[in-house]
Each structure stands twice: as C-alpha cells, then as structure tokens.
Symmetry: C2
C-alpha cells in the first residue's frame, strides 16, 4: 500500500487503457469485468459501440463522449465500404446523422455524449461543403475524434492541477462512483484532482463508496487507484455518514454527468445524499468536470432527464437473486445535487465558485473561443 513519495504525474493512470482506436476497431477495456479480469472488447461497428455504451462496458460521461466520436468514425467507414464508388460527402453526412441518432439514444443523462456527437456532425457539415473526397472527410473526422481523446486527457490534467490546490497534505478524500481514468480518455476528473495532488507531493488517502448497484466505486475506482499505489478504502454507500461523523473525511470530490446553467449537478445516484451529508458535517463538496459537461441549454436540475436502469441490476448479482420476486424496484442511475450544496466546480480553466450562472457562461464561452 506504500507508494513512492512523489510519482511523476505522467506515470499516474498510465496503466489504464480505457479506449484505443486502432484504425479498424475501437478497443474498450470492458468495465463490467473489472476488477476480476482485464478484458478488452473490440467494437467493429457503430452498433457495437452503441451496445457497449448501453451495457456500460464503457461508462463515465467523458469516456462515453469519446467512444461515440469513434463510433461515428466506424459508421463512416461502413458507409464508404457499402457505397463504394457511389460514396459522396452528402451521403456520408446523411449516414452519420442516422448513426448519431442511435448513439444519442443509448444514455440520456450525460451531456458529453451529445456534445461529442454534435461536434463530429458539425465538422462533417463544415467539410461537406468543400471539395474534399468522402475519404478525406472521414480522415478529418478520425483526426477530430483523436483530438477529442487527446484533449480530454490534457484537460483532465489541467483540471487536476487546479483542483489539487484545494487539497492539503494528509487529507482523506471521499469520492463516489468512478470519475477516474476509466470514466474519461485518461487521468480522470475527480480522481485526476487526487492524482495531481499526489504528484505534487501531498499525501492523500481516498475513501470510496462501493456505489450500488453497478459498484463502480468498489470495482473501478479502487482498482485504478490501487494500480497507482494511492491508498484506498472501500465502504458501503450507507457508511458515508458514519465515517464523516468520526472525523475521518476532509473533503468530498465527485465527477458530473451534466451541469445545468445554474450550477445544479447531475451525477451518479447517491451524489445528492453525499452533498447533504457533507453539508451537515461542514465538509467541502467539490464537483470536478470539464467544460464539455456544462449544458447551458439546460436551465436547472429539474430539466435534466434521469435515466432509469433495469430492475435486475439491483435485484440480482452474479446470477444470485438478492430481492424476492414480485416486489417493486426503483433504479435511477443519477440524481441532481442543487448548486447550493456545491462548494466549488473544478474545471480545466480553473476553480469556479458560486454563484455559478455567470461563471459557467464564461467557462463555456472561453472553451468555444479556444476551440476556434
């Protein structure tokens, strides 16, 4: 459990290959198999990518966004192979619009998925008007997806460095679900903050809720932090209040699936409870997310659609029935934490403090400016 005192930031999370595009397949680390086995899944078609997102083989808002971008590249390749000499840029665009619809239908809450798909379609439309061949256009789309993947890691490192300043040597951070390398193209958001603090020489201990029903905390966060030799303790979701009451927690840091214009945060179910518990114990509650998670078109949390997942995810585990037949199961995948409970939002452009409305508008405008 002991670690080299100050690991270089680049070595952290370097062993986690969440997704990789080979030119022919999108290779995903199958997150349903962790921590028992490291199995890779090769998606050869956009439909396979969509299914992998639905079945949570790949999950985490930023990772889903990048996976969908590559799904469009695979969709474009299928179009070119199918159309042969009849291929055209307009035909490619129409095909990609259909692929985009199927990808967007997979999961409703995270906004990065829509953000990535729209960005890819925008690029397609822009280049469609030029004199490029369909193959050139597809090459440009692949470059765009690769840029999104690279940018996501780079943004997470900037985000992590901004957030690391909020953590102190000796802190114990409680996190929920997985907002790490596995939830992104690499390095992570909430876990990126922790990685940057560790890289800066601070001693940080992590507590993570197991995060029922999918157990992203126990299975994924514990796995990737342990790989980085960052001390991690798993607790059941219902133990968070207890460890706070005992004075064992210094701060809470979580990721986000969508941040509304007013600063309300949709994130993994249980986040709202944690925010209330943090408030009751006088602990800071931080949200770490890149600007692509902010949706200015969503005025507040009430407008965020909350995905309801299948009951069997809660009633069964490893083939064993956990609850009797005939009862009702509720299985929302996310909840909304009102902005009033969020101490700060950590982004790639800096740490935002309330009131969030104007700060978030500025963040999104700045990101758009930088993207040209």
């Amino acid at each position: 459990m002991s670690s080299p005192r100050v690991p270089p930031a680049n070595s952290l999370a370097a062993g986690v290959k969440t997704l990789e595009f080979t030119g022919e397949v999108l290779r995903l680390l199958d997150q349903t198999k962790l921590p028992v086995a490291e199995v890779y899944l090769d998606c050869r078609t956009s439909a396979e990518v969509a299914l992998a997102i639905t079945e949570m083989k790949v999950r985490g808002a930023p990772a889903i966004g990048v996976a969908a971008a590559y799904g469009l590249v695979l969709g474009g390749q299928a179009y070119l192979a199918m159309a042969g000499r009849d291929a055209s840029c307009v035909g490619l665009l129409h095909h990609l619009e259909q692929v985009a619809a199927s990808l967007l239908a997979t999961r409703p809450t995270a906004v990065n998925l829509g953000w990535a798909v729209k960005r890819m379609l925008r690029t397609t439309r822009r280049l469609c008007t030029g004199d490029q061949t369909p193959a050139d256009l597809l090459g440009a789309l692949r470059s765009e997806a690769e840029a999104m993947q690279r940018d996501d890691v780079a943004m997470n490192k900037r985000l992590g460095d901004h957030g690391a300043a909020l953590l102190h040597h000796g802190d114990t951070v409680l996190t929920h679900c997985n907002a790490g390398a596995l939830a992104t193209a690499g390095y992570g958001t909430a876990l990126g903050v922790i990685r940057s603090a560790v890289a800066a020489g601070k001693q940080i201990t992590v507590f993570v809720d197991e995060t029922r029903p999918y157990l992203q905390g126990a299975r994924l966060t514990a796995w990737e932090l342990h790989k980085d030799h960052i001390p991690v303790t798993v607790i059941a979701d219902n133990m968070a209040g207890y460890v706070m009451q005992q004075g064992r927690i210094s701060a809470v840091i979580v990721g986000a699936d969508r941040i509304a214009a007013n600063g309300d945060v949709a994130n993994k179910i249980g986040t709202y409870s944690l925010a209330l518990l943090a408030r009751a114990h006088g602990l800071p509650f931080y949200v770490a997310a890149p600007s692509s998670t902010v949706d200015l078109d969503t005025p507040n949390g009430e407008a965020i659609p909350i995905e309801e997942r299948p009951p069997h995810e809660l009633s069964h585990l490893a083939g064993q029935r956990l609850a009797p037949e005939g009862i009702t199961i509720v299985n929302p995948a996310f909840d909304v934490t009102p902005a009033a409970y969020v101490t700060a939002i950590i982004t790639e452009a800096g740490v935002l403090r309330p009131p969030y409305e104007e700060a978030l508008r500025g963040l999104v405008a700045g990101a758009a400016r930088r993207a040209g």
Copy 2:
C-alpha cells in the same frame, strides 16, 4: 401487490417462523438463505446457537435475545445429561455462567442479548437457593425463555399499535435493514408499526434500502412485507436522499440495537445517514424498539461498542469478488444516531418524545415493575 383492505392484525407476519423451540432443538429460519429459500436450521447445543448468531443465521436485537435464552436452556440440558446423578443446581448455575459468556461474546452492539442472558442467569440464581431439583430449575428456565418469546410478540403488537397512530392513510414509509418479524420473536418493531397501521385500515406503502452489505432490506424486509401483501419497493442505500427529494417519503421508521440513557440510538449502519437526510427534508425520523433495547448503563452513543464485521462480507457476494485485492475495507455493522435527530421513540409503553433521558428512565422502571 393488492391486498385485502383491512387484514386482521393476527394474520400479519403469521407465516414467518423466526425461531421455535421444540424441547430438543432451537429451530431457526436461516436468514442467510432468504429470499431464495426458506431453510430451517436446528441448533442442538448452545455452541450451535452462538455460531448461528455470529454468522447472522438469526439476527435482529430482540430475536438474538430470545435465541440466546434458548441457548442457555440447551446448555442446561447438556449439563444435566453430562452430570447425570451428580447434577446440582449450583453446578447448573456454574455451567450456565460459562455458556452465557460464550453467547455474550458473539455480537457486542445489541443490548437485548445481554438483557436476555442476564435475566436467565438471575432466574437461575434465584431458584438455585430453593429446594428445587436441577431438572425443576431447568424447567423453570425453559418457561422463562418461552415467556420472553411470547412477551416479545405481545410487546411488539402494543408497540405497533402505539406507533400506528403516527402514520396516516396513504403514507409512504422508508425503513432500513430489517426490524420485522424476522428480527424479533414475531410481528416486528419498525415493521410492527407498519403492520398495525395496515391492520387499522390505513393504506401504507413501504420503501426499504437494500442495506449493504448483508442486504437485510432487500432480502428480508421485502420478503416478509410481500408475504403480508404490503406494497414494498426496494432501493439501493444511496437512493434514499433522491426519493426524499422527490417528495415520495412521508416518514422514516427504523429499529434499534441499543438505546443509550440520553436517547442516542445504535442501529444498522446507514441509519445515521438516513436520520440526517430525513432532517434535511423535514421528515419525521422514528425509532421503534421495546424497553429491553434501552441500556441505562450506557450514558450516550459514544459508549456503545460498534461491531466491525469481516471485510469479505463487503468485498465478495455469491462467491464473486466485488473489490480488487490489496485495498482496505471498512465494515462497521452499526452506527449511532444522536438523540437530537430522533423525532420519537416508539415503545410498548407508548411514544416517547424528547428530551429522552427522563422518559427512558421511566420506561425502564415501568417495565421492571410490570416484570415484578
């Protein structure tokens, strides 16, 4: 899921046989096998009873107390068989003192276990001074254990009737873990309140947290309420705040494993978080427990020992590893809710309101008076 409008109270939980003494064995409904199978476990020795308590084949503070009382009866039978003609009342007492120590060592937090064991030893000492034969004394101990079992059910029904007045037609009650027929000699404490409200003609819907890691909510509470045709919805522990935020919960009712003299309540891990969430949403937070759960020798919650259970209960399920090797697991079985968060304590003698210190002293004195 629909139910006859007003079931008679006696029919409720009648199908649940938590424990039964046949004269030769203590037959326990093995709660580790529910809800998949109804398997009964015959304990022939006090050591088997102690093991069943340690392994949570039987659990719930009042049920553990009654099981331990029968464990002493089995211990006494073993002494008589072993000593033969050399048996004496003093020899029986000494033997039972050893058996008592092994039973008391099983689980440290619930006080009903100590309460029941002490009561049995007190009776042994009292009768030991008379001119009874050891066989007569053992017969009296068996009657005492049977009285405790009968009294527990009767007390729970009185408790339920007092508590039912706090619930309204159409209420949705959130409960945690299992404070039902399975946790007691029958009828239940928190679930007894719900049963009495239903028997009084009120329409009550129940939400229950699955209650990790042992899943008493999903496995046991859902099972016994569904048997009684009381509508029950299972949620993950981390969804409690979300359903409260949505306005779906009217009140929270839980049981207790020990109530300190000042009203602090030890109960299943996660109870404290629920109490804070209830407070944040303006919901009443009720504790239902018989007077045997009150420990005036424990001044406050800080003095209550919290049992730490084995890590594998959290890291494994159905033979499958849920968390990676090499990480730390914390697995406290209980937490303490400060009296300030408890709206009322529902007992067999009535509903106690804060400040609790004097009310609890009066409750215990009254129970001692009634016991003669």
